[in-house]
């Protein structure tokens, strides 16, 4: 667990920031009061989570009272989709590239799925076809977890306002929050999901912004915490960890985006130059830059290989990366995102997701550049 690794899987999870650990430790040792209680130990815990709430509110462009803490991004997404539908009925719509935490609830409700173009951006004309007065919720992620592609939320919101005026707009900003100004970019959204462990916070905690005026049905019933919207004893240590991680992230946002964006460019350009028959997803040919993707995302498809085999070889060199998603067995799943973008199964089967994060270094990039081209060459030679 402690040997030096080259960690390029930040889209999956991120190293815990020291600020987060420092914030959490007191609650893990003698600050163990239940924030819902009446005595001063409880009130102390309550104060700490409300401080975290303030940080989140500032970072998401909402009021503290509009922040609902959850057990993570999946619960936040489920609360948005199932909660809105349970309260308002109607039809739910989402994009074809959403995380399963949005897609599965939408499918469960018999909702509509809007296609994307070959660059992974929502096809606005196709979306328009799916919008009508029956639509109660439209969910489109701000940035994609596989490709890093950013969706044009302003244009989507405009379309929704026109064609489905009663509909609420939800955005999964889990992958966007570490990199983008979510306050500005998610302004048109009524509901916003985030997750702690994608920004240097702990796992098991996230939040859903529910703007005032938006009503939904809680999915966890019980003691009435979070204004009745999400019952259950607060994961106080997780929440303060999330708050501290969010504060650090917001504080360093521009610097991190610039620094890591440059590392990502070096990595992507280097691999495109060194490995023949490589495609970079979500970037138009001849594009001037990668501003359509979050700065940490380097997502490629290598023709003629299988992701599983490449990831195995990279792990042997202590390089941690991923491709598509892992299903509950641990096997790699074919990517629904690449399928939605029109990639054929074989090319999509050779995808590699290298996701840099706040702790990534130039050395990480150099080691990846040294290991990946020979790995791909070896697999191509073996015909596997």
């Amino acid at each position: 667990m402690s040997q030096p690794v080259v960690y390029l899987d930040n889209a999956a999870s991120t190293p815990l920031r020291p600020e987060a650990l420092d914030a959490m430790l007191p609650l893990l040792t003698d600050g163990y009061g239940n924030p819902s209680g009446a005595h001063r130990m409880a009130r102390e815990a309550r104060r700490r989570i409300d401080d975290a709430r303030d940080v989140l509110a500032a970072g998401l462009g909402c009021e503290p009272g509009e922040v609902v803490f959850t057990s993570g991004g999946t619960e936040a997404d489920n609360l948005a989709v199932l909660g809105v539908h349970a309260r308002h009925g109607g039809t739910v719509v989402c994009s074809a590239v959403e995380h399963p935490a949005v897609l599965e609830p939408v499918r469960h409700l018999g909702g509509r799925v809007a296609p994307v173009d070959c660059l992974g951006r929502l096809d606005l004309d196709a979306l328009a076809e799916l919008l009508d007065e029956s639509v109660s919720l439209v969910s489109v992620m701000l940035a994609n977890n596989e490709t890093g592609v950013i969706q044009p939320l302003d244009e989507i919101a405009e379309l929704v306002r026109r064609l489905a005026p009663g509909a609420l707009l939800h955005t999964d900003a889990v992958q966007a929050f570490p990199w983008l100004d979510v306050t500005a970019m998610a302004r048109p959204a009524d509901l916003i999901s985030i997750a702690g462990h994608k920004l240097g916070g702990p796992k098991g905690v996230g939040a859903l912004v529910v703007r005032s005026g938006v009503t939904l049905a809680p999915q966890l019933l019980g003691g009435g915490q979070e204004r009745g919207l999400r019952s259950g004893t607060h994961n106080a240590e997780g929440i303060v960890g999330l708050g501290a991680a969010a504060a650090a992230t917001l504080d360093q946002l521009d610097e991190t985006a610039t620094r890591v964006g440059a590392l990502r460019d070096r990595l992507a350009d280097g691999l495109l130059a060194a490995v023949p028959d490589t495609v970079e997803t979500g970037i138009a040919p001849g594009a001037a830059d990668r501003s359509g993707k979050v700065p940490g995302s380097c997502h490629l498809c290598f023709a003629g290989i299988e992701s599983e085999a490449l990831l195995f070889l990279l792990e042997q060199e202590d390089i941690m990366a991923s491709a598509a998603s892992s299903c509950s067995s641990g096997a790699q799943h074919p990517s629904h995102v690449l399928e939605a973008m029109g990639y054929d199964r074989a090319l999509a089967g050779g995808s590699l997701r290298l996701s840099l994060g706040h702790a990534s270094t130039a050395d990480d990039v150099e080691q990846a550049l040294a290991a990946i081209p020979p790995g791909v060459a070896r697999l191509r030679a073996h015909g596997s």
Partner: protein, 340 residues
């Protein structure tokens, strides 16, 4: 030496991994994800992967999962359905071995730098002056050499079957001694991708084929009954043929799916002196007199193989088209063919 052990989550492959690890090999376990979803209960389900992973954890070896679902669909499931559609017998375990375990997995192992692949099959790998041969395992009741008949010299050079000298009881005892969590896990039966709790083979095929109701006739051509799915009838089948009032037991002797006709006959009409075959293959030189096995755990019968035909020493029941016949020279696999 780096050995990749195929671990299904069953006791056999668990003990295989344990034996090799204890013998000092550099062992890595892998489970092939071939079929099914998160809540599936068939073989190699998520629960089975968990078992394999936890056994690997107990043994201190790495465990990986490879998704070969596409290949499994293409080489095992689709042919299984297609065989039923034309009234032939499928051999899914043989095709899985041929295309997945001993092709795809073997190639992947080579690409990843492994020297050998090991499985928990009850079979031996025997070196003879004429080359490597697959031999029967020590436990006659559990012998799996039949499903390994297709392995060639190149493949056998890179394979190990550590359980070949052990009986099933010895394998379970070892598992228990080692405290492996799969020591008492029941063996999976039948076709791994068909759930018996979910309606079995009939339901599986009905979801993929329009099953053909057929008339049942005797060998004189007279109609004697009906079945609602010709695809589900096997040569030699006696029950479930919708036949009543016959003087002696009636067996399916022919299945014609396109013609929607199942022909039944007496025991006398079920047996033949010779069975034509296709896809005849010898492990080395052709062998004159062989013992022929026509199913995974069936009894052998003496025969001679000549002119694309298996000539039975004694009258033998018909073999369904597509069924694999494996020829043994003593306890070693000498060759194979498919019933025509």
């Amino acid at each position: 030496m780096r050995v990749l052990v195929a671990m299904s989550g069953g006791v056999d492959s668990s003990v295989t991994a344990a034996l090799l690890a204890h013998q000092g090999f550099d062992v890595t376990g892998v489970t092939m994800k071939l079929w099914g979803g998160a809540q599936d209960t068939g073989c190699c389900s998520v629960a089975d992967v968990d078992d394999a992973r936890r056994v690997a954890d107990q043994l201190g070896i790495d465990h990986h999962v490879f998704n070969f679902g596409d290949e499994f669909e293409r080489f095992v499931v689709d042919p299984y359905v297609a065989a039923h559609a034309r009234g032939a017998t499928p051999n899914p375990c043989i095709e899985c071995n041929r295309h997945l375990k001993f092709d795809k997995l073997l190639r992947r192992a080579g690409a990843l730098g492994f020297d050998q692949v090991a499985t928990g099959h009850h079979a031996r790998l025997v070196e003879t002056p004429a080359g490597r041969r697959v031999g029967r395992g020590a436990d006659a009741a559990k012998d799996q050499s039949y499903v390994l008949h297709m392995l060639d010299q190149d493949q056998l050079a890179r394979l190990r079957f550590p359980l070949g000298e052990l009986t099933k009881a010895e394998v379970r005892d070892l598992a228990a001694e080692l405290g492996l969590r799969t020591a008492h896990k029941p063996d999976s039966q039948d076709v791994c991708f068909i759930s018996h709790t979910g309606g079995g083979r009939r339901r599986f095929l009905a979801e993929r084929l329009a099953l053909t109701p057929a008339r049942v006739v005797n060998t004189a051509g007279a109609r004697v009954g009906e079945v609602d799915a010709a695809e589900l009838v096997t040569i030699g089948q006696r029950h479930g043929l919708g036949v009543s009032g016959a003087a002696e037991a009636q067996y399916a002797v022919d299945v014609d799916v396109p013609g929607a006709t199942v022909t039944v006959g007496s025991r006398r009409e079920l047996v033949v002196d010779a069975s034509p075959v296709t896809a005849l293959r010898w492990a080395g030189h052709p062998v004159e007199a062989v013992l022929v096995q026509t199913s995974a755990h069936g009894r052998v019968a003496e025969a001679r193989v000549a002119d694309g035909t298996v000539h039975w020493a004694r009258p033998h029941r018909r073999v369904a088209p597509g069924q694999a016949l494996v020829f043994y020279d003593g306890d070693l696999v000498a060759g194979s063919a498919l019933a025509a």
